[in-house]
């Protein structure tokens, strides 16, 4: 009987360990996020999410996803928006806050291999949804960093764009095999940002 008790204790500890490691939230709780107010002089970053490469590869897209609500006509899921930067924020934390605030679906896993978060899907567009070389990538200031998104720390004024690639990064300008050398981006986010602000008559 002593042995039974011992085994019971071990199982109990294991279950307690599992339970403390899990967090279950209702949908409303999850989306209830607090965005910091952008005050004069506060540090900010810009974040946008685009999937316009899918429009060029419509034939490869999973037929169940060929709807406006998954792939908007202009390919922009989240236009470049200014968000307050909290100290120590990484690309992933900024993205997480932004999608929660905008109620955009996102799924990610923590990859122990790379000790970083891997974003599997945004707005129901997952890796491999549009051909075998498709998935989400991010660029900061027009460069594709060779980092996991939860390892890249942001600084004031950084421009982050999440882009859906259908060709392992080549179609968005971030060649997977040649990441360090890539400083070229076809849709230069900073230029686009300037244009957007100019259209509104603002200054950056």
């Amino acid at each position: 009987m002593k042995k039974d008790l011992l085994v019971l204790c071990i199982v109990g500890v294991m279950i307690a360990f599992l339970v403390t490691g899990t967090k279950i939230q209702s949908v409303d709780d999850y989306y209830l996020t607090h965005l910091d107010e952008i005050a004069e002089g506060s540090e900010t970053v810009f974040l946008g999410i685009r999937c316009d490469t899918i429009l060029d590869n419509w034939g490869d897209l999973d037929p169940n996803l060929r709807y406006e609500k998954y792939v908007p006509g202009d390919g922009i899921l989240l236009p470049l928006t200014e968000y307050a930067l909290r100290p120590g924020d990484t690309v992933f934390e900024t993205l997480n806050r932004a999608v929660r605030h905008n109620r955009i679906q996102m799924a990610c896993v923590y990859s122990y291999q790379y000790s970083s978060v891997y974003v599997q899907g945004i707005n129901h567009l997952f890796e491999f949804s549009c051909g075998p070389l498709s998935g989400w990538m991010y660029q900061v200031n027009g460069r594709f960093p060779n980092y996991g998104c939860s390892q890249y720390k942001l600084k004031d004024g950084d421009v982050v764009e999440w882009m859906y690639t259908c060709d392992l990064g080549r179609d968005v300008g971030g060649d997977f095999w040649n990441l360090g050398a890539t400083a070229y981006a076809p849709a230069d986010p900073i230029a686009r940002l300037h244009r957007a602000y100019a259209a509104e008559g603002g200054e950056i």
Binding site: V27, D62, P63, N64, Q120, F126
Partner: protein
């Protein structure tokens, strides 16, 4: 009940002996599907398993599962079926729960688990996949009951002599090991083991049985190999004897099975499409969908219904005597 007691006292009671024989006959009655020609068995069971494997449509899988379980129940008897269902239904539930833990696709979010959505669609997908696995498992269970090793060798002995032998031996290994496991644990029980009340002790003592079983398996495989080579297995020109004659009934059944398979395949390729992510869509009732549903209902329940029909006939026959 009273009568049985009396009969037990009197061993010469003819009535009792007759009843027992009839009972034994009834229980040991070979299934009607077993009397079909091996070609039909192969086409039917492999066809059903294949059809089940290629689809994730909940209606098709559900009907296939019911057909497989029905057929298994008819072949093995209720008690054995319930015993195996007691294992396979929890397994089904576990697979259905595991999928949403790793797949976060789907529109209908139920709740968030460690910041990732747990969706209804992922649970449905998991349930469909689990149903498929369990249904295929039951189809192969039926297959292994009716397709005895002599039938396998009769079918493939000429074309693939080695492979058919290996296949039939491998398939025979599971029941063989099960039997030996029971023997070993019975022997250990009779030596006074497993007397402890502690659950841990009892679980640990299973490992002892298992290690004895592995030792036995290795030894027996060596012996089997020796014995078989002594008997001339694997040599050229070795013939086998089998009496499987092709009858008119077999022809009718084969035509029926092939027709139904054709209709089902047509229905499945032109209709009965299914999609789980991001939103579930699948249960529709177009023309081809209904063709597929009808096809699987006819084909999936065919073996079980044949058995049931024969069972009813047999029961009527027994009660008349």
């Amino acid at each position: 009940m009273r009568k049985t007691k009396e009969s037990k006292g009197n061993k010469g009671d003819l009535d009792f002996a007759e009843k027992r024989t009839a009972n034994a006959l009834y229980k040991k009655r070979a299934g009607v599907t077993e009397s079909f020609h091996p070609v039909i068995l192969l086409v039917y069971f492999v066809g059903m398993a294949a059809v089940t494997m290629v689809t994730l449509h909940p209606v098709l899988l559900g009907v296939s599962f019911i057909g497989a379980v029905f057929c298994t129940g008819m072949l093995t008897g209720m008690r054995k079926l319930l015993k195996s269902l007691a294992y396979s239904i929890p397994m089904l539930a576990v697979i259905a729960v595991i999928n949403p833990m790793f797949v976060h696709k789907g529109e209908t979010i139920l709740f968030f688990y460690n910041n990732n959505p747990v969706t209804l669609e992922a649970i449905l997908y998991g349930a469909a996949a689990a149903l498929m696995i369990v249904a295929v498992f039951y189809w192969f269970k039926c297959y292994s009951i009716v397709m005895t090793s002599d039938k396998v060798i009769y079918l493939f002995g000429r074309i693939l002599p080695r492979l058919s032998l290996v296949l039939s031996m491998t398939l025979g290994f599971v029941p063989k090991l099960k039997k030996q496991y029971k023997k070993i644990s019975a022997a250990q029980k009779s030596m006074g083991m497993y007397a402890s009340n502690s659950v841990t002790d009892r679980v640990l003592s299973r490992f002892r049985v298992l290690s004895a079983l592995v030792g036995w398996a290795l030894e027996s495989s060596v012996e089997t190999a020796d014995s078989m080579s002594a008997k001339g297995y694997g040599l050229r020109g070795r013939s086998s004897y089998a009496t499987y004659s092709w009858t008119r009934r077999d022809l009718f059944i084969l035509v029926f099975v092939l027709l139904a398979l054709g209709v089902l395949t047509a229905g499945m390729s032109l209709g009965a499409g299914v999609g789980f992510y991001p939103a579930f869509k699948g249960i529709s009732a177009g023309l081809w969908d209904i063709v597929a549903y009808a096809g699987i209902a006819v084909l999936g329940l065919f073996a079980g219904l044949m058995e049931l029909w024969e069972n009813i006939k047999w029961r009527l026959f027994v009660s008349k005597v």
